[in-house]
């Protein structure tokens, strides 16, 4: 009986494919939204976790402004501040000063605009960022500000293609320097920027020939083994407040971010987005359900005679009820299936475009199937009951 009800329902609905499709559009959209969201969300989370791992765990970013943007009356850091932290903070193993700006790099007739980072001693070690070809700058080169540079993968490929850039002379603005190494690939940062689109030079060279000042824009600090980043943050905060003479009632005039905090911020953002869009999806499922209910009510009216005939040849009320309920469930399940296919297709393309991994959550798909079936049952109930309550004689007389 059930199998037959399914088959009959499929047939009844495929007689009017356009109407059936329009009926389930709400469910399609609702399910597609949820699945796409969850799939992309998982991909994004995985991507962020990869990047956080790539960024180096237990690394603190210390910047002299309070927020990410340019703060009002920012007191800049100096190279001395970094040395001070490395010396005074027991929880910090390495504190490396750095500054960055965007410039055009020219090699022969190729050029690209990229981020130039001036790095102090320990920067690469703190970020756990190896050089995979060539060599790192020596401490001597860093101290003297030698005209040498490291290429990120993106820059190396842009300017030299498959050729090795080691030993080549390139121009940064008016400055000429020699490429001594290529950095390992890092991928995207948690905020979507390409971390490999970078050229690194000694901070001293950067100060003298590129920035024209001696400001340190941020300090990268590696937490010493045996300490948590929480402990390190507390100590650094304490030391910097004293050193920068922040009154006890004033708030910090610097900002300490650890890699975990970036992850937490990201997770919180994703969670909020998920909640928001889930609400949208829920609303569209309800709207979709009402659409199904509406069409099923129309269908019951249209098919009153059919119901009468079925009752006359021996269908019980429950059989008629089953038939119409199954029809509603088939409708909404079909909508759910279309939604799932659409969502997976779209999130595959989006994941490719954004460089996220494409991670399908089978649990959510099962849930979507369950939900669309539930929508069919809930919103098919009223029309099905109306059909089941028809009086056979009255129904048969209907034109």
């Amino acid at each position: 009986m059930w199998m037959i009800a399914w088959r009959e329902a499929v047939r009844a609905l495929s007689r009017n494919p356009l109407r059936s499709f329009l009926t389930v559009l709400g469910v399609v959209i609702g399910v597609a939204a949820v699945i796409a969201l969850v799939t992309l969300g998982r991909g994004a989370t995985a991507a962020v976790q990869q990047q956080i791992a790539a960024m180096g765990s237990n690394v603190l970013f210390i910047s002299p402004s309070r927020g990410f943007g340019p703060g009002s009356a920012t007191v800049p850091f100096s190279v001395e501040d970094a040395r001070f932290l490395e010396r005074e903070a027991a929880t910090i193993a390495i504190a490396a000063p750095a500054a960055a700006t965007n410039r055009t790099v020219i090699a022969g007739n190729q050029s690209t605009t990229t981020q130039i980072v001036g790095i102090g001693e320990g920067y690469l070690a703190a970020r756990q960022w190896p050089v995979i070809e060539g060599r790192e700058p020596t401490p001597g080169e860093l101290r003297s500000g030698a005209a040498v540079c490291l290429f990120g993968q993106t820059v190396a490929t842009a300017l030299f293609g498959d050729r090795s850039p080691i030993g080549e002379r390139v121009r940064l603005d008016k400055l000429t320097c020699t490429v001594i190494g290529v950095l390992a690939a890092k991928g995207q940062s948690a905020f979507g920027s390409d971390q490999d689109d970078v050229v690194m030079v000694p901070l001293r060279l950067y100060h003298r020939r590129i920035a024209g000042n001696t400001q340190v824009r941020f300090i990268i600090a590696a937490v010493a083994p045996g300490y948590t980043s929480r402990e390190a943050i507390a100590e650094v905060q304490q030391l910097l407040r004293e050193r920068r003479r922040v009154a006890p009632n004033e708030s910090d005039n610097f900002r300490i971010t650890d890699s975990r905090e970036i992850e937490r911020t990201f997770t919180a953002t994703t969670r909020m987005l998920t909640a928001l869009l889930s609400a949208v999806a829920a609303i569209s499922l309800v709207v979709g359900g009402i659409g199904i209910m509406n069409i099923m009510l129309v269908s019951v009216t249209e098919r009153t005679r059919e119901i009468g005939i079925r009752l006359a040849i021996g269908a019980r009320a429950v059989d008629v009820m089953t038939q119409f309920l199954v029809e509603a469930v088939v409708l909404s399940l079909a909508g759910g299936a279309i939604g799932i296919v659409l969502a997976l297709g779209a999130s595959y393309l989006a994941a490719q475009a954004l460089g996220f991994p494409f991670l399908v959550d089978l649990g959510v798909i099962a849930l979507a199937v369950l939900f669309s079936a539930a929508v069919g049952v809930v919103f098919g109930f009223l029309p099905a009951r109306r059909a089941a309550r028809l009086d056979p004689i009255v129904a048969l007389r209907q034109e």
Binding site: I309, R310, A312, R316, I393, L396
Partner: protein
């Protein structure tokens, strides 16, 4: 109980109508379709109902077929008091005990002839292969082999009527109710169908109640009951079996 409506001697009563009346609507608009019917049909009997249009024959058939509930009176089918049963129980009687050929055919327009005939078996839970075989056999019995795949709209009135007959007999019901089963058939076809019904009655002992306007067809029945204005006017013995 009217003396004229007594069953033939010996046989068990299958259908017993006692003082059945059916009034449609209420107040000034009330229409009395049946005004106190007493009728007993014995198991294995073949009864024809005749009478002018609007005399209540179809209404009476609907009551016997457990489709309509009488306004007053008592109806007993095979010892079960139908007037005391709920809708589901009556549905099961229609499913397992009764075959009904409706005056207006009542085929499902979107199903093929074969599927229409299979439908009552489907509700009986008969397996697909058997369902198909029995439906094909029933269509063959009414002379419609080769028309299995046609929809009602692709069949003539007479052919539709025969599909309706096949649907009523496919379940091998104990009680066959046929409301003008030959109303749309030519004389030769009508006689074929009547012979089929007579054979079902004679060989399988199917009890048949049939409405007809044609005295020629009524002759096949063992008893003819005449209706007028919602009452039984008189009864007579049929020609062939009487």
């Amino acid at each position: 109980m009217s003396n004229a409506a007594q069953p033939r001697t010996g046989a068990l009563p299958l259908v017993v109508l006692e003082g059945i009346s059916r009034v449609y609507g209420s107040g000034d608009a009330a229409v009395t379709a049946l005004a106190g019917i007493d009728l007993t049909v014995a198991s294995g009997e073949f009864v024809a109902l005749m009478g002018p249009s609007g005399s209540g024959k179809s209404t009476c058939m609907n009551v016997i077929g457990c489709l309509d509930t009488p306004t007053a009176g008592r109806y007993t089918l095979a010892g079960l008091e139908v007037t005391a049963l709920d809708a589901d129980a009556r549905a099961l009687l229609r499913r397992y005990v009764i075959g009904f050929v409706f005056q207006g055919f009542h085929l499902l327009p979107r199903l093929t002839a074969l599927e229409n005939v299979e439908l009552p078996l489907l509700y009986q839970g008969v397996k697909a292969a058997e369902r198909r075989a029995r439906a094909q056999a029933a269509l063959a019995q009414v002379g419609l082999s080769g028309r299995e795949g046609h929809r009602p709209s692709e069949l003539s009135g007479g052919q539709q009527q025969r599909v309706a007959i096949a649907r009523a007999i496919v379940t091998r019901p104990q009680l066959l109710l046929a409301d003008e089963p030959t109303g749309n058939l030519d004389s030769a076809r009508s006689h074929e169908i009547m012979q089929l019904l007579a054979a079902l009655n004679a060989t399988l002992g199917v009890t048949i109640v049939m409405v007809t306007h044609e005295p020629e067809m009524a002759e096949y029945a063992g008893r003819i009951v005449h209706f007028r204005d919602g009452r039984i006017e008189r009864e007579e013995r049929g020609g062939l079996c009487g």
